[in-house]
């Protein structure tokens, strides 16, 4: 099975390319003389064993029609195991000495779930009712992927879903300097009361990238569903359609929530400016504004690497249900046209 998202966009990954540098790289002669050469090296090494990805699919389909086709359902259960996923090998040790990254069939993912479509039709006198629903649920699991030999096994993506969100676990905001002194050291630059406090997952006494864990679910929703009904009576039509997604989460980021992160004036959300933010009592004159559970940390000017990084603080549930369409329609005919 092929993959149209070839990593790196290399057209002929099984071939290497050799190229020259654009300028001289080494001068063999004394000063004032010239015996310099351009450099030549592999600009892309070959990936000689790349091949098709292998996919094993199992589907179970169930089509049901009941009560003289008043109720129809199509259900498709699937279980796909894709192995030999074509990936760039980003974590070759530097002792190998390559100047470019080869690719290989190293990944494996299993996805399971079902697709369902349900339809219900009823006629009550002159009223026609049609109701439709659909639902897709899928759950996948990374079985193997290209990754570094992490010290902390919980940082390996195996066992998690594709596109699993990763970040720190936030424990609210620092109350005061005592709180800072009594907490593990956070290695993301300077921080002070009102900044985000994180959990020391590995218990090594410092908060750093080693404390990143899987948080929330995946960026892409695992559950998508829809529900629609239409009712028609004589010339009148009424229909609505709801659509929803569940089982996803995402990080809020950018200058609207990372207030003044780019060091300039700009649009910020009302909550940041309002009372939903940690404000030092020195400024507000009111100790209660030093709220460790506020929705936004203290205001800071310019980059604040301690706060502005992926963590549960900025993680939001991506589930939603929306009314996608609502139609009310009527049709009338002029006599002249029917004549």
């Amino acid at each position: 099975m092929g993959n149209d998202q070839l990593a790196g966009g290399t057209r002929f990954p099984y071939l290497y390319t050799i190229g020259q540098t654009s300028s001289n790289v080494y001068q063999w002669a004394d000063y004032g003389l010239d015996r310099a050469y351009l450099g030549m090296r592999f600009t892309q090494v070959a990936s000689p064993y790349v091949t098709w990805e292998v996919s094993e699919k199992q589907n179970l389909g169930l089509d049901i029609a009941l009560f003289r086709e008043k109720f129809i359902s199509y259900i498709d259960l699937f279980d796909e195991k894709r192995t030999g996923i074509y990936m760039r090998r980003e974590f070759l040790p530097e002792i190998v000495g390559l100047e470019s990254v080869p690719s290989a069939n190293v990944g494996a993912v299993r996805s399971r779930g079902f697709d369902g479509r349900f339809e219900f039709r009823q006629r009550l006198g002159e009223v026609n009712i049609t109701a439709r629903a659909n639902m897709t649920y899928s759950k996948n699991e990374v079985l193997k992927r290209d990754q570094t030999n992490n010290v902390y096994k919980y940082q390996n993506m195996e066992g998690y879903r594709v596109d699993q969100n990763v970040g720190l676990i936030a424990l609210g905001l620092f109350k005061d300097y005592d709180d800072i002194r009594n907490s593990p050291k956070q290695n993301f630059g300077t921080y002070q009361p009102g900044d985000i406090k994180y959990k020391d997952v590995n218990g090594d006494g410092v908060i750093d990238d080693g404390d990143n864990v899987a948080i929330g679910s995946t960026r892409r929703p695992n559950l998508i569903y829809g529900l629609g009904t239409s009712v028609s009576y004589k010339n009148f039509d009424f229909s609505f359609h709801f659509q929803g997604a569940g089982k996803s989460s995402f990080f809020t980021y950018g200058k609207t929530v990372y207030a003044f992160s780019e060091g300039e004036w700009g649009q910020v959300l009302k909550g940041i400016m309002g009372d939903n933010r940690w404000i030092s009592a020195d400024i507000s004159g009111d100790p209660s504004t030093e709220d460790p559970n506020a929705s936004y940390p203290r205001l800071s000017y310019g980059p604040n690497p301690n706060n502005f990084r992926n963590s549960t603080f900025w993680l939001r549930n991506g589930q939603y249900l929306r009314l996608k369409t609502l139609d009310i329609a009527t049709a009338y005919l002029r006599r002249s046209q029917t004549a």
């Binding site: 790289v25 001068q27 000063y31 450099g39 090296r41 064993y49 190998v96 000495g97």
Partner: protein, 684 residues
């Protein structure tokens, strides 16, 4: 009719096109006819040269042997310091300052260019070594020579790794197969001895491959490796392997430096024969007969007439190389480094990167040595310890030597200054009036290396006559801006500057690099090999038969005449008498003298940092407070200025993590069998 024929032609042509398409429907080779392949590269001489040039490109930057701190803070140990790029004085800087370097305040991510550059070069060199036989434009002799050059490069890159990181993974002879799994690519570190043996054997092979065409390279190839360079690196690797760090090391940290299975990487068993092998390898270089120490002829008259050393019955009356009667020792030493000589014309230069030094090379050092009054940065200087190490011109110690650090012999430092009368009477040459007598009557290398308070800077490339020939003082409130200045970082922390590498023409007027004479990098110098030979012989008790590189046998033992063969040229060229017979008869005494000789002779050449570690002297020497002049004193307090004090602005210490440079985290994560150096972490 014409129409018809046209139609027919058209149909025929179409048919022909169709059939040809069909035939090569799935063939893609036609698209790659012009593609450069390994075979094409190595068949061509030009392309092979380019491949080799790219391998040597990895010798640049942080892989330089002698370069300014931006590449190698390792050139700065207890001999030499840099005061700039320190955020304590200039908050805009976020670099590794001398104090951070000396206090071990660097991380697993600092100065890691060496690792990636070396292993890239090693892979490309392996490709070269195993494909150059394809060449159709070179003779068999040339192919051998070029293979030798690539082999030299590969072993040299391993040598740079070994020196900095300690034992490292030695890869297979051919390029590592990168299609293997990460587990199979997890190659562990070899032992120090295995690394030394690999480098020594490969350098021997490289020397043999280059011996027909690569004894000397001339002006067009002065940066190419030669037989002498290969044999010298072999000698250096063997000497490091014989030194206490890797030979009978039972210190606590050595027990912690292991592979994943817990095997020690530094040998705890002392083996004296290692010293004999190192000595034999150094002798191989000496017996090539190609190298000699550079000398400048005696000059009887003129402003810069030779300063003649005090009379010595053994050396004053004899001509070089038996004595110094016909040479100028000060100029002989200075001109080895200052750019007077082209690389090919310097008879003691064994290996150099020539002018492949990028922006932080020797010239960058010089502009940081030049005084403010020559628009230099005035931030690289020397320690009192080094100043005290230089001998008096008769070979005795300077009075008051090392008194402040508890190593004095009871003598006091000399008081007083050169007066105008002294100067006019020609006393204390080459000192000018106002200079402390602590700097009088010192050995010629002192005057070639040390910019003491009140020394003469010639600065002949200055456009204005009045700006040349400056006497530079480092007193506080100095009217030319060369003294202590609380508002910037551009003052000498010890009040002692550095002259080595500075050409009489050099200045930095207008920030113009062209006003500094280009200087070839002295990566390996014959004086180093000579001193290595004596050092290795001195350690021997027994007698050993060791094969030379040509296969004949040497008998190697602690033979005084042979040790003098190493020491005398260095001493005589410097205008100093040889050591006493009693010194030669005492192994411990001679070892101290040789260490001191290296401290002086090789100052600023990237040797001291590594010497201190291999001798295992670093814990004591690197943690002694750094002394210097009292730069807070102005000219009216000159006695206090010249009274050495612990320099408050320079910090230094030593801990076990400073034996070897840390391996970076990302590499440890990619190679599960790679072990970290003691004192450094594995994690993020």
């Amino acid at each position: 009719m014409i129409m018809k024929r046209n139609k027919l032609t058209y149909i025929l042509v179409s048919l022909a096109l169709l059939t040809s398409c069909k035939k090569e429907y799935l063939e893609s080779d036609q698209y790659f006819k012009d593609r450069l392949t390994i075979e094409k590269v190595f068949k061509s001489k030009e392309y092979s040269e380019q491949w080799l040039a790219h391998i040597f490109e990895e010798f640049k930057g942080e892989n330089a042997d002698v370069a300014s701190k931006g590449y190698t803070p390792h050139c700065f140990a207890d001999d030499m310091f840099y005061g700039d790029r320190d955020k304590d004085y200039d908050p805009s800087k976020n670099e590794l300052s001398y104090n951070m370097f000396k206090m071990g305040l660097y991380t697993e991510n600092d100065k890691q260019g060496t690792w990636v550059q070396c292993y890239r070069g090693i892979r490309n060199a392996s490709t070269f070594i195993h494909n150059i036989h394809l060449n159709t434009e070179m003779s068999e002799r040339e192919i051998n020579d070029y293979r030798g050059q690539a082999r030299f490069a590969r072993a040299y890159l391993y040598w740079l790794l070994l020196r900095k990181y300690g034992p490292i993974p030695i890869l297979p002879d051919t390029e590592v197969d990168y299609t293997q799994s990460y587990d199979d690519l997890a190659i562990p570190r070899n032992t120090y001895d295995e690394c030394v043996d690999f480098i020594a054997n490969e350098m021997l092979l490289a020397a043999q491959e280059m011996q027909e065409l690569g004894m000397q390279r001339g002006q067009d190839g002065s940066a190419r490796p030669t037989v002498g360079a290969a044999l010298s690196v072999r000698a250096k690797a063997l000497l490091y392997g014989a030194s206490p760090l890797a030979n009978g090391n039972n210190a606590g940290f050595a027990a912690l430096l292991t592979d994943k299975q817990g095997n020690r990487l530094l040998s705890s068993q002392y083996n004296e024969e290692k010293w004999a092998r190192a000595a034999a390898a150094a002798r191989d270089v000496i017996e090539l007969g190609i190298y000699r120490l550079y000398t400048v002829a005696f000059q009887a008259t003129g402003e810069d007439a030779t300063v003649v050393p005090p009379y010595d019955p053994n050396f004053s009356d004899k001509n070089w190389p038996e004595g110094w009667a016909n040479i100028d020792p000060e100029k002989s030493y200075a001109r080895v480094f200052d750019g007077t000589l082209p690389a090919s014309g310097n008879p003691e230069l064994i290996f150099t990167r020539g002018n492949n030094q990028l922006s932080e090379g020797v010239n960058a050092m010089v502009i940081h040595q030049l005084p403010r009054s020559a628009t230099g940065w005035n931030t690289h200087g020397l320690t009192q310890k080094l100043v005290d190490a230089y001998y008096m011109n008769d070979g005795t110690d300077v009075p008051g030597k090392d008194k402040e650090i508890g190593r004095g012999n009871g003598s006091e430092r000399v008081k007083g200054y050169v007066t105008q009368e002294d100067y006019e009477a020609g006393r204390y040459r080459p000192l000018l009036p106002g200079v402390s007598l602590q700097y009088a009557n010192r050995e010629p290398r002192f005057y070639a290396s040390v910019a003491f308070n009140g020394s003469m800077w010639k600065l002949l490339n200055e456009s204005q006559e009045r700006n040349r020939n400056q006497q530079v003082f480092y007193y506080r409130d100095n009217d030319k801006g060369n003294g202590f200045n609380s508002s910037n970082a551009y003052w000498l922390r010890t009040g002692i500057g550095m002259k080595k590498f500075v050409h009489p023409n050099d200045t930095y007027e207008g920030g113009n690099n062209a006003k500094v004479v280009p200087k070839a990098e002295p990566a390996i110098r014959y004086a180093d090999i000579l001193l290595m030979y004596a050092e290795a012989l001195n350690e021997l008790n027994g007698s050993y038969t060791i094969p030379s590189w040509r296969g004949t046998n040497y008998t190697i033992s602690r033979d005084i005449a042979e040790m003098q063969r190493g020491i005398r040229p260095v001493r005589i060229r410097a205008g100093l008498p040889d050591y006493s017979a009693s010194a030669y008869s005492n192994k411990d005494e001679l070892r101290k003298l040789i260490k001191r000789e290296r401290f002086i002779e090789l100052m600023g050449e990237g040797q001291r940092y590594y010497d201190l570690r291999r001798w295992m002297d670093a814990p004591e020497e690197e943690s002694l407070p750094i002394y210097g002049c009292n730069v807070l004193m102005n000219e009216s307090q000159r006695d206090l200025f010249h009274q050495p004090v612990a320099v408050w602005a320079l910090k230094t210490t030593f801990s076990d993590k400073m034996w070897f440079w840390p391996i970076k985290h990302s590499e440890l994560k990619r190679n599960k069998n790679l072990t970290q150096n003691p004192g450094w972490t594995y994690n993020d």
